[in-house]
């Protein structure tokens, strides 16, 4: 029996597929989220999706209808942000904070009346990766393709908007269109992923892989590739870890995303220390060599001591 033979199990395959799809999609979008400093926007979008799910559970809707309701709520949030954000006099972070608290409180109120209230709350925050169905994976795949198309077609526009949105508008980039498409693709993947993996996992995938990529690479495309790889690695290692040690799957993957990030950060720090040590050693060697050369030159140039003493004792004689 090989060490990874548990991946032959159908529920492990489905769990891995779901975690890879969510991880890769969120890690690609996450780079722009980190660079644009809109981490809280993604958190609010996730909370809006939770509110949509809670409303659907409250209304006792079917599994697929829950995803659509969650996406509907996210879409309202996206459009609100895109259309009214500029005209709003309230600071953006305060609006986001209020939105987050409102969504959280209302979803708790809605789920309080559900027969399995507490279990539903736990399910929405932590998800259940191992109970994902093929239908959910298909829905995740469709959302993944949509997000990747948007990011492929809009890569240049997103970079331009991230650097200087005013200049992007002057150069003819339709900033509002691309911003709406970016948030819609993000909202869609969050809404679909919520049922399978939970809010924590989605949020973690948006932040940690992108942070790992930003630590290593210098070009945006390379950052996205590294982010993608680190998310995939965390999914495989985390899921294996959760199976072997019997831990919850989503939290295990989150843990491994954090571990990968910390390992990269640590290796960079060690590399910097080694580099500084090498520089210090180089300067120490150069300085000691120069001091040695200076000393030998001084010794060679040292004048005859007898001549000096004679000259000092009888100046007239020397003249």
């Amino acid at each position: 029996m090989t060490s990874l033979s548990f991946y032959a199990l159908a529920y492990m395959q489905k769990g891995l597929a779901a975690s890879l799809l969510v991880g890769s999609a969120c890690s690609v979008a996450g780079v722009f989220i980190i660079v644009r400093q809109i981490v809280f926007v993604s958190l609010v979008l996730a909370q809006l999706a939770v509110l949509g799910f809670s409303a659907a559970i409250f209304l006792d809707l079917s599994e697929m209808s829950r995803i659509f309701t969650a996406f509907g709520f996210t879409l309202i949030g996206v459009l609100y942000m895109a259309l009214f954000q500029l005209k709003n006099k309230t600071p953006a972070d305060a609006t986001l904070g209020m939105c987050f608290i409102f969504c959280h409180a209302v979803s708790l109120l809605l789920l309080a009346k559900s027969t399995q209230g507490l279990e539903e709350i736990r399910h929405l925050t932590s998800g259940n990766l191992l109970s994902v169905t093929w239908e959910e994976i298909m829905a995740l795949g469709a959302a993944w393709i949509f997000l990747m198309i948007i990011h492929f077609a809009g890569h240049r526009s997103f970079v331009f908007i991230c650097a200087d949105d005013e200049f992007a508008r002057i150069s003819g980039v339709n900033v509002k269109k691309w911003e709406i498409l970016f948030y819609i693709s993000l909202g869609l993947i969050i809404s679909v992923a919520l049922q399978a993996v939970g809010t924590f996992y989605v949020f973690s995938c948006l932040v940690f892989p992108a942070m790992s990529g930003l630590l290593i690479a210098r070009k945006l495309f390379a950052i996205q590739i590294i982010s993608f790889i680190s998310a995939a690695a965390a999914s495989i290692i985390g899921l294996s870890f959760s199976y072997i040690y019997d831990f919850p799957s989503s939290e295990s993957i989150i843990l491994w995303q954090i571990i990968i990030y910390l390992l990269i950060a640590l290796s960079i720090k060690i590399k910097q220390i080694i580099l500084r040590f090498r520089i210090a050693r180089y300067y120490y060697k150069t300085l000691t060599r120069r001091f040695a050369a200076l000393r030998t030159r001084r010794l060679n140039l040292k004048p005859d001591s007898n001549l000096i003493s004679n000259a000092n004792s009888n100046p007239k004689q020397t003249r």
Partner: protein
């Protein structure tokens, strides 16, 4: 306030015409602006902080619609007005190189499509002229404020527009770099026929370079001649300080005195 904006017209050439324009956001900042910037002219915009200079630029660029009146941009068909913002508008945490930043306006929306040979020639020419050729592989976050400003000027020049708007382009630069930029802008205007609109608080630079002046006074814009500005009264009234304009070695310099 309800916006009463006429449609923006685009003609051939390099002109900007503002007719009875009111600029502002939800409230008017400056009313009844009548300004005609003709092709090849060099305009200096003068005004104290918060007078509305950047708002005027944004209105000309089409980033903010005018609250009233008409803005006409007379440009060759595919061209847009090029703009050099203050370097503070640039997000420094973005992981892009100086080369990528400069080439942004000419890059295709297709991720793997290469930049045209003509654009590369312009890129080589302007990076050499601005003395930033050695910086092109560096990250934007690694270069100094002055170098960032030069990169932004280069990015605007890459747009190949006949009209260039400069919003305090020499901020944060040392005197040698400042002189280089001022001379480059002069060459662009005199030798290559670019239309220049320039905002700066270094009035001596404007007096030496610009031919036409628009002064923000209260909520109005006054068009002043070079002679009137040199006289010093217009500047004195604007800044409420005694200002004397001297000529030293064919260059204007300002002596700013006590409050009036």
């Amino acid at each position: 306030m309800k916006r009463k904006t006429d449609k923006i017209k685009t003609y051939d050439g390099g002109e900007i015409i503002l007719t009875d324009v009111t600029i502002g956001y939800s409230y008017p900042i400056v009313k009844s602006i009548n300004l005609k910037v003709e092709s090849g002219q060099y305009w200096g915009i003068i005004g104290p902080n918060g007078a509305g200079k950047t708002t005027l630029f944004k209105t000309i660029l089409g980033l903010i619609p005018p609250l009233a009146g008409r803005v006409e941009r007379n440009l060759p068909a595919p061209c847009r007005i090029a703009y050099v913002p203050q370097q503070t508008t640039l997000k420094t945490n973005l992981p892009v190189s100086v080369e990528e930043l400069i080439l942004m306006p000419v890059k295709s929306w297709l991720p793997f499509k290469k930049v045209s040979g003509e654009a590369i020639d312009r890129f080589n020419n302007y990076t050499a002229k601005l003395g930033i050729k050695h910086l092109i592989k560096k990250q934007v976050s690694e270069i100094s404020g002055g170098e960032k400003q030069k990169s932004l000027i280069c990015r605007a020049l890459m747009m190949n527009s006949p009209v260039l708007l400069f919003d305090e382009p020499t901020n944060g630069m040392d005197i040698a770099s400042e002189k280089e930029i001022i001379e480059l802008i002069r060459r662009l205007n005199k030798n290559e026929g670019y239309t220049i609109i320039f905002v700066t608080h270094f009035l001596a630079n404007l007096l030496n370079e610009a031919e036409h002046f628009a002064i923000f006074a209260g909520n109005k814009i006054r068009i002043e001649t070079h002679e009137k500005l040199i006289d010093g009264n217009a500047l004195q009234n604007l800044y409420r300080r005694s200002i004397n304009v001297d000529m030293i070695e064919n260059c204007f310099s300002l002596r700013i005195g006590a409050k009036l």
